[in-house]
Symmetry: C2
Subunit: 517 residues, 2 copies
């Protein structure tokens, strides 16, 4: 009988008489107040060195950072400097994205501190250097959803996450704003960081603003945090926030925006309760303005808007035209403040936002997404990662995720930019597969993916200036000519993955022109 | 050189040309609206049978439930009925707690559907039956923090969690209230369920109230949910909520409450910014009232209150006497409504609240906790689990967790209840070890644990009616006499664990009186 065997049950074999509770060992109790405890028993450390020491970070491990501070980020460079000084080598850097401000990484790669990079995008000098073959091992590019999925399923195993936060209490409740003041650093949503905090083996929050426990509401919870490092500064507000949102005066962008709003209106999804996502580019922001007029005129309200959020969306929300906002990153101060003050404007994790393995993923609920493109080709494949010279200068972001999730995905781009065509035979780099792209809106006409016979039927008798993607390509070519084809070496510098981790394209090293000439 | 080996890298061996994105396989896209998607692509199922089928629940697995609906819960019994019908056997039931309403479990144990139970507490007929030896394998009792810790570290591996929710969208964003109305089912915080949702292999939300996506703010996120089952009813509001909070008129309780407020005032932690937790018992609620007067008089405000929350705490918060509330379970309608409407009243998970393995755990930040007791002994050990007849009739709850975490833990109990002494030589069952108990307040005097020399020193010259725990025991004995000692068989029916999973007591089967006589 099992009951008689209780003395032999593995965990519950006998009364634990050796437990400190039943021996003379002192159970520590006194009347320290919470404030005193914060001082003596908190997770707070006062140097990055200490935190790295305690995290047991070793050569060969994987570290992560978020990019909510964008080009105002101080955290990554500061932490990397300390890691480099400690002689730790051969790290994998799994950042949510990397920007121009992160160019000091070049030295860390050269010195062997970092040997692998995984990111959504690369910009600036680092991007140039990577394009020219900085790393032996190609950079792995993932979408925001793909990265979250990889973290969840173990493809990315983060050993130590270093997460900057504009406010944090002594035990790790962190957020992208401060309840105590509106000045200083504010980034709004900590969406990308949330996923890292949940899955990393060791989580270190860096903050310049220690606030009283409990810092609620919080974006990152103390239960996920190991250490809190108080530093003097985590970022530059000017770099973090793109500043006041201004509407474009560019006539091409205004034309594209007006057409896009028309397309949305006639696409079949423009009904009361619809949902959409749009980026922070000029055409996107202007589209919101034209869409607003249509919503007011037809008395149509959106149930929700999601993704990266701007002040333009916030204003629509405050006007009552959008019920709820799901925010994975706040692009400007208006968005960050709204997240702080409005309980129907909520932050969501990257995983919640865009992971491909869950039918509830937020992007799957989108009716319309408006996306930009560096290039789109006649198969509707989109490139947002490499420039016309073949070098890396962009980010996948949520491009793949939203194109796949939304009922109608709309690519907005001018037919040409300067002397460069945006509609081409074949994109340099496939980032978002044509099968998930539905409509391309340019200043010279609108093309609908032939796979979407339903949409073609719907627009048959509309006033939209419909054309084919081949016509758009021809027109672009006639305007600017076929670009000089890019010469590459056989060295792979980047691997473009799809949301599920499969490889959908490779980026090769661009041949150095000077070398050839 | 690693770059040349790219074709042999395990995950990134080659362009995935077989990927559906690059073959003729159709990528499904059309202009279904979100509302249509909710119908066709959601996680919603319309029968518990279906959900169990899809969860792949099999004999021998572990299932979990929360007890936020208390004695109004319909979920557990409904689900168990279906499981039993399907012929699934030998399950471990790992509930956050079990109440009188769950007496149908007796039959499921008798029929072999359930062979193991883990819970914070047992009440009613089920408790009686367990006390009399219903199960072959002893019930494992864990505190709320101990359970969360066990779930996190894998001691409890939940295969399928069945979580009732007063509102849920089609993709699994669930909450303890509805944004659309205040009527019907409302339970406030989903604190215990949050931990289950995060760690269970399969998560099924049961709701009677499907709401539009996105149901934000949410207590449980879609990213953690596998299926949503729409059922007619999940609970009885009258059983879920204990009703309007009434102040006690019991003179013993009022005396204890007044004394407790005095003790807090003089304990050294009663300073501006202090924190506390108190339960929903008569003496606790009355203590809040006396404490309020002292706070107003001395202009002292609490930074936060946490734990199970009542309308009494909400009122103090609304008066400005408490800044923030961390809510693991809402005891009444006032608390649930405040959680819904007030963003400084936030729900927290059981893990956040009380897990023993994280210095940030909320209970560790408490200055004062007020706890009840069935018995306390001369070693300050407390029993809240077994009655004076030796049978099970209570729950560990957060008792161990808060006693260990708070700077000052105060046990409130009348010296005697009817003909039964509350202060005894040795408690029937050790639930909270004396080393973590600081002060015992009775209607006949206050005893301070000799380990707390700091508190004894502080109260030396106070007006508090101080005595020793031995004197209290003697007085109790002189009033009601020594109770008849309980006779037990040698069968273990319950294992009492401490927060860290170690065993601190065993509960034996009570000898049936009729059998003996």
């Amino acid at each position: 009988m099992i009951n008689n065997d209780i003395k032999n049950l593995p965990k519950f074999g006998k009364l634990d008489v050796e437990h400190p509770l039943f021996t003379n060992e002192r159970v520590y109790k006194d009347i320290k107040s919470c404030k005193e405890r914060e001082e003596f028993e908190s997770k707070v450390l006062f140097s990055i060195e200490d935190a790295i020491e305690k995290s047991q970070l070793k050569s060969g491990m994987t570290i992560s950072f978020h990019h909510h501070f964008r080009d105002g980020d101080f955290v990554l460079n500061k932490v990397m400097e300390v890691i480099a000084k400690k002689g730790i080598k051969d790290l994998t850097l799994a950042a949510s994205s990397l920007l121009s401000v992160h160019s000091p990484l070049i030295e860390h790669v050269k010195n062997g501190v970092i040997t692998r990079i995984e990111t959504s995008g690369l910009r600036g000098e680092l991007a140039e250097a990577v394009s020219k073959g900085l790393l032996d091992i190609p950079v792995v590019f993932r979408s925001h959803g793909g990265r979250a999925y990889a973290i969840k399923n173990g493809d990315i195993k983060i050993d130590v996450a270093f997460l900057g936060a504009p406010s944090c209490d002594s035990f790790g409740n962190a957020n992208g704003y401060s309840r105590d003041h509106d000045n200083g650093i504010i980034c709004g949503s900590l969406g990308y960081a949330k996923t890292d905090a949940q899955y990393a083996s060791c989580v270190i929050v860096l903050t310049d603003n220690l606030v009283p426990f409990p810092n609620v509401p919080a974006g990152i919870f103390q239960s996920d945090v190991d250490y809190v490092v108080k530093v003097d500064a985590i970022g530059d507000p000017n770099g973090i926030m793109s500043g006041a949102t201004r509407f474009t005066k560019n006539p091409k962008e205004l034309l594209i925006a007006e057409t896009t709003a028309e397309v949305i209106e006639q696409s079949g999804v423009f009904k009361d309760g619809f949902s959409f996502q749009m980026g922070s580019g000029g055409a996107s922001l202007a589209t919101a303005r034209f869409l607003r007029e249509k919503m007011l005129k037809k008395n149509i309200k959106a149930d929700f808007v999601l993704g990266g959020i701007t002040g333009v969306i916030v204003k629509l929300h405050e006007e009552g035209l959008i019920k709820k906002i799901l925010d994975v990153q706040s692009f400007d101060l208006e968005a960050a403040k709204s997240l702080k003050n409005n309980r129907f404007h909520q932050q969501m994790s990257a995983y919640y936002y865009a992971s491909p393995n869950n039918p509830g993923t937020a992007v799957n609920q989108l009716d319309v997404v408006i996306l930009s493109a560096l290039e789109v080709d006649v198969d509707y494949n989109v490139n947002v990662l490499t420039g016309s010279d073949g070098s890396i200068r962009g980010a996948i972001g949520g491009h793949q995720d939203t194109a796949a999730g939304a009922s109608v995905s709309i690519i907005v781009c001018p037919l040409t930019r300067g002397r460069i065509a945006s509609v081409v035979d074949k994109v340099n780099t496939i980032v978002t597969p044509g099968k998930t792209v539905d409509i391309v809106v340019t200043d010279q006409g609108v093309a609908i993916n032939p796979l979407r016979t339903d949409l073609i039927e719907r627009f048959k008798n509309s006033n939209i200036n419909l054309t084919t993607i081949e016509n758009l390509r021809d027109k672009a070519m006639s305007l600017v000519g076929r670009g000089k084809s890019i010469e590459y070496t056989d060295k792979v510098v980047g691997i473009v993955t799809y949301r599920d981790g499969s490889v959908i394209d490779l980026i090769y090293q661009v041949k150095d022109q000077d070398e050839d000439d």
